[in-house]
């Protein structure tokens, strides 16, 4: 039952989403909004700005380094979280040392 | 800040400080706590009396204002508020003395006296609020401050009564809040009592009627208009001083006071007249008067009988207010004062009987007059006043109410008032008669200090009832000022 409801719901949403997709700028065309001044600066200025040939690298470690810092924090958070979940023993009974 | 403003603030603050002090005193120091309670009530009452003296003398009243969230906390004096303030704060002094005796053996005195004093300050806040928001604030706080007093004994009945009280009050308060919000939009943010009527002039009468009934239902809960009275009889499980003070004077009169404010300060006489809702209101009050008396007749538990009597008598005040005539308003104000002073004596007497003999029911009271002559004597005299016998204060308020009804060409109300007087006689007189003529196997007991603490305030207030009956003119300056405030004569 729940499965059927989920399917019907997803199909309904799917129709609306298709309508939305038909409105999106065409895929791969060079004059989509995404290919604007932002892309231009990255492509033409990355070398001068950062000295990196690889623009992706330039973005990851220079233009958007703050994001990368937080990204590593995500990783760090997950590691600590895994520690916290997996650490054995002493469940709620206090330290047994 | 003038003396007046300082006094208005101080009269409220002093009880709060007293309450905090009482709460801070450890359990054993009884005497100290009693002194603080009575002292704080006394000082606060003295301040209010001095304010009366200042206000009546000069005709100007101080105002205090502090902003809060695009609303303002606004304390002002006017004759209507002063009447209620004087009444509550004065009776509070006597009720605190009575409480000292009554609560002698109670184990939770600290809790009791703390909330008892807090309620005093909040009641004064209601009396002195200068705009609807402040009024609503103190009105809502009163519910929460008195709840612990209602459930004081902690029994199942008390908790059930408390639950009922809170439910009724909160639903009522939300009606008031809805009304305030509606008023806010109609007037564009004006909540001051002094300027609402003018700001309401542009609203359509349909909107105004909805607004009026929102207020009426909201305040009607505490004023115990039938069918919103359900909480009051059950709240009688509270300790007697609480029933006497809160459920015969402070809380119910707060509701009545709210209705008076709605009719006279929010709408104004002319606007209410133009709404043509008067017949409905008068019918509502008449029904409450008669039904309340009839139900009281059938009650055997003394405090419940008094509670239904209160419901009936409160409707007198509202009736006087709704007639919208100067004489009737004077009657209403007089009845507010006299009913409070009389009913509190009846409750005090009932409390003394319950404490000394353990009897709670009317049918058990036979012969109690023999061992408690002063108590039952006061009860008898004052119940005559309640009925409206001539040399007692109750007569004068009913007299004004009747004159008001006649002047407003509503002679049918005369019948209602007389009928109710008759019913009052039917349910009060047998009590006194059986108390003094009946026989019982009770032995007279040694007079204790506690009894003295209870007896003295009872007798003093009873004396007031007689004095006001003989010299009704004593209250006239205040009543005149109220009438002059709302009727341009």
């Amino acid at each position: 039952m729940a499965n059927k409801v989920a399917i019907v719901l997803l199909v309904c949403i799917g129709m609306v989403v298709l309508l939305a997709i038909s409105e999106l700028p065409l895929y791969g065309s060079p004059d989509t909004p995404a290919q604007n001044y932002v892309a231009e600066r990255y492509i033409q200025g990355a070398l001068d700005d950062t000295g990196a040939l690889n623009m992706v690298a330039a973005i990851v470690i220079d233009y958007r380094a703050y994001d990368t810092l937080i990204e590593t924090t995500v990783l760090f958070t997950a590691i600590i979280a895994v520690f916290l979940v997996l650490k054995k023993g002493t469940e709620g009974k206090g330290e047994q040392k | 800040m003038s003396v007046g403003v300082a006094l208005v603030l101080a009269s409220i603050v002093i009880t709060t400080i007293g309450a905090i002090w009482v709460a801070a005193i450890p359990g054993e120091a009884k005497t100290q706590r009693h002194c603080i309670v009575v002292g704080a009530a006394l000082v606060s009452a003295a301040m209010v009396w001095y304010l009366l003296y200042l206000g009546l003398g000069s005709g100007t009243y101080p105002a205090f204002r502090v902003g809060i969230a695009s609303l303002s906390l606004d304390l002002t004096l006017d004759p209507l508020g002063l009447t209620y303030g004087i009444l509550a704060s004065t009776l509070w002094v006597f009720a605190s003395i009575y409480s000292v005796g009554y609560m002698e053996h109670d184990t939770k005195q600290r809790q009791y006296f703390t909330f008892f004093l807090v309620s005093a300050g909040i009641t004064l806040g209601i009396a002195f609020s200068g705009n609807l928001f402040t009024f609503y604030l103190f009105y809502e706080l009163l519910t929460f401050a008195t709840y612990p007093l209602v459930v004081h004994s902690g029994t199942k009945d008390a908790l059930e009564a408390g639950r009922k009280y809170i439910r009724y009050s909160l639903v009522g308060a939300s009606f008031i809040l809805a009304a305030i919000v509606m008023l806010w939009t109609l007037t564009g943010g004006v909540l001051d009592f002094s300027s609402i009527p003018a700001a309401l002039a542009t609203a359509s009468s349909g909107q105004l009627r909805i607004l009026f009934f929102l207020f009426l239902i909201g305040f009607g809960v505490k004023a115990a208009i039938m069918p919103l009275h359900g909480w009051l009889p059950s709240a009688m499980v509270a300790p007697t001083p609480v029933s006497a003070l809160l459920h015969a004077v402070a809380v119910v009169n707060a509701g009545v006071f709210g209705v008076l404010r709605t009719v006279y300060s929010v709408f104004g006489v002319d606007l209410v007249k133009s709404l043509s809702v008067r017949p409905i209101l008068l019918v509502l009050c008449s029904v409450t008067i008669i039904l309340g008396s009839l139900i009281a007749l059938k009650q055997d538990v003394l405090k419940r009988r008094l509670a239904y009597s209160t419901i009936s008598q409160l409707a007198y005040i509202l009736l006087g207010a709704f007639i919208l005539h100067p004489l009737a308003l004077a009657g209403a104000m007089l009845h507010m004062i006299f009913h409070s002073t009389l009913k509190i004596v009846l409750f005090f007497a009932a409390g003394i009987v319950a404490e000394e003999t353990g009897y709670l029911k009317v049918s058990e009271l036979g012969g109690t007059g023999r061992i408690l002559p002063v108590t039952m004597g006061s009860f008898g005299i004052i119940s005559l006043g309640m009925i409206g016998m001539l040399p007692l204060s109750g007569f004068w308020s009913k007299y004004y109410l009747m004159r008001g009804s006649l002047a407003a060409d509503a002679w049918i109300l005369l019948v209602v008032l007389l009928l109710s007087g008759l019913l009052n006689a039917l349910y009060f007189i047998p009590i006194t008669v059986s108390a003094f003529t009946g026989t019982s196997d009770l032995k007279p007991r040694r007079k204790t200090k506690a009894l003295l603490f209870m007896l003295v305030p009872t007798v003093i207030i009873a004396a007031f009832g007689v004095i006001f009956g003989l010299y009704p003119g004593l209250t006239l300056p205040l009543v005149d000022a109220v009438v002059a405030q709302f009727f341009s004569l």
Binding site: P33, D62, Y63, A65, T73, L84 | A69, Y136, L137, E140
Partner: protein, 502 residues
């Protein structure tokens, strides 16, 4: 000099908290673990004062931006400091500091061991840092990354109890929260496709010129955001994870999640809706009506579910769902009063619910009773704690002189300004229902006679101090709300783009 400090402070608040979090795991070996805990409290207190300073600067000098790493707006990440950020930073500081203080008392006992306690502190600080990051950021993708840190950290602090039920609740929470993040990222993708920008101000610029070309796409994109952030902030039909997660976690975790974590996502939603897309466009799409409707349903449904619970913490958890409804209602109203009410409710619900959860935690821990029907006599055993709970209850109901009233009053005005009388009814009804589900707790605790004599519980003074701090905040916001109210209405004005700030 002062200006340079101010500009750097924006990023400094986040980075300082992050750095504190990074070194926390190293502090397990410290001899007195208390020192580590108080260090965390001190850092949170510093963050609070930083937030207050920033808010003051924003009020005095208007909004300002900070380009991280020196790369200007459309290319690098820009932090934009406006009244919204200032307001939320203060909220975070005011709530997180006392929660941390409360947690510091018996953290090791609660979570099991010293190293686990250190990890808990780490995650707590990471969560706070991520929320601060959400408050100050002006970049969409940065929002996503911050949201992820917050999500993982908040999942982990639920799991800190480490018994079967809380791990199960965590898994449920993680799954649904990840679906939420997926929707958010999808929405960001759509906005990127439509505008080619990630900076919210630039997106707003681009959209204002071109949005008529793709109304459905924009609407679908906003719905993605609504669903995504709605799942994470427990908007009513998407709330299924919340009751389990909030009721099984330890008290500081529940307090943190219920009061702050949820609000972070709401702030993000506000930024996306009102900064990136803009009030003009939002109000023309059917999205605000949906939000208003969902808000009203949430208020009533959450309160009804709360009434049905006997377990105290579950009742509080459902109360959160109801209160989140108020916030969404305000967002949906989309006028100045509604949004001011939203901000005030973010603050007042954060302080109030933190207080309630912490007080409830102390009550449950010291009496060993988690059901409301068993709580008779608790009030006599721990009067200050239950008294604090009473203050929280009154604020939650919306009694004047407590902060809850200020926000509900603004929401009432907002509903009236839109002529939405149904919302007025729902707001008042929600308050009555709040009274119905909170006051019985007090009646039980204070006035019901206990069956056996309750043990006298000695709540530690530090925990009482934390509770009293929140009580003071609630009452002072309720009595003199002028300062925060000004900040809130300034934030609302900024979001609505009504006028340029001085």
């Amino acid at each position: 000099m002062a200006l340079a400090f101010r500009d750097n402070l924006a990023v400094l608040v986040v980075v300082a908290l992050l750095s504190t979090a990074y070194i926390m795991p190293l502090l397990t070996k410290i001899r007195r673990f208390r020192v580590a805990e108080y260090f965390a409290v001190a850092m949170l207190g510093l963050a609070l004062s930083g937030g207050i300073y920033l808010a003051r600067e924003i009020l005095l000098h208007g909004t300002f931006t900070y380009a991280v790493g020196g790369w200007p707006a459309p290319w690098g990440i820009e932090l934009s400091l406006d009244a919204v950020s200032g307001f939320f930073l203060i909220t975070i500081g005011v709530v997180a500091t006392p929660i941390m203080l409360y947690a510091s008392v018996d953290l090791i006992k609660e979570v099991g061991s010293r190293s686990r306690a250190a990890w808990f502190l780490t995650l707590f600080l990471l969560l706070v840092a991520a929320l601060c990051g959400l408050a100050v950021t002006g970049d969409l993708f940065n929002i996503y990354v911050m949201v992820e840190v917050a999500t993982i950290a908040s999942c982990a602090i639920v799991a800190a109890r480490n018994d079967a039920t809380s791990v199960e609740a965590t898994f449920k929470y993680l799954m649904l929260a990840t679906i939420g993040s997926g929707f958010v990222l999808l929405g960001i993708g759509f906005l990127f496709v439509l505008t080619g920008n990630l900076n919210m101000n630039f997106i707003a610029q681009e959209l204002s010129m071109s949005w008529q070309k793709y109304p459905t796409a924009l609407w679908v994109c906003l719905s993605f955001f609504m669903v995504g952030f709605g799942v994470k902030s427990a908007l009513f039909p998407l709330h299924v994870w919340l009751p389990d997660a909030h009721s099984t976690a330890i008290a500081p975790s529940s307090a943190m999640l219920s009061s702050l974590a949820i609000k972070g996502y709401i702030i993000a939603l506000l930024k996306v809706f009102y900064v990136a897309v803009g009030a003009k466009i939002i109000t023309r799409l059917p999205i605000t009506d949906i939000l208003t409707l969902l808000g009203m349903v949430a208020i009533i449904a959450g309160a009804l579910f709360a009434l049905a619970q006997d377990e105290l913490k579950r009742r509080l958890a459902f109360s959160t769902i109801s209160q989140v409804g108020y916030i969404f209602l305000g967002i949906g109203l989309g006028n100045i009063h509604g949004l001011t009410g939203t901000f005030m409710h973010i603050l007042s619900h954060a302080t109030t619910k933190a207080l309630l959860f912490l007080a409830a935690g102390a009550m449950i821990k010291h009496t060993g009773k988690s059901r409301i029907s068993e709580m008779a006599g608790v009030g006599a055993a721990m009067p200050v704690t239950v008294g604090a709970f009473a203050v929280g209850s009154l604020s939650m109901i919306g009694i004047p002189l407590f902060s809850g009233f200020v926000s509900k009053w603004q929401l009432l005005l907002g509903s009236l300004a839109n002529g939405n009388y149904l919302a007025v009814l729902v707001l008042v009804g929600g308050s009555l229902l709040a009274a119905a589900y909170l006051l019985p707790v007090l009646r039980m605790a204070f006035f019901e006679r206990p069956l056996q004599k309750p043990v006298v519980a000695n709540v530690s003074y530090v925990q009482l101090a934390a509770l009293l701090f929140l009580v003071v905040v609630i009452i002072s916001v309720g009595v003199v709300p002028d300062g925060v109210l000004q900040l809130a209405s300034e934030a609302a004005t900024a979001l609505l783009g009504l006028e340029v700030l001085p």
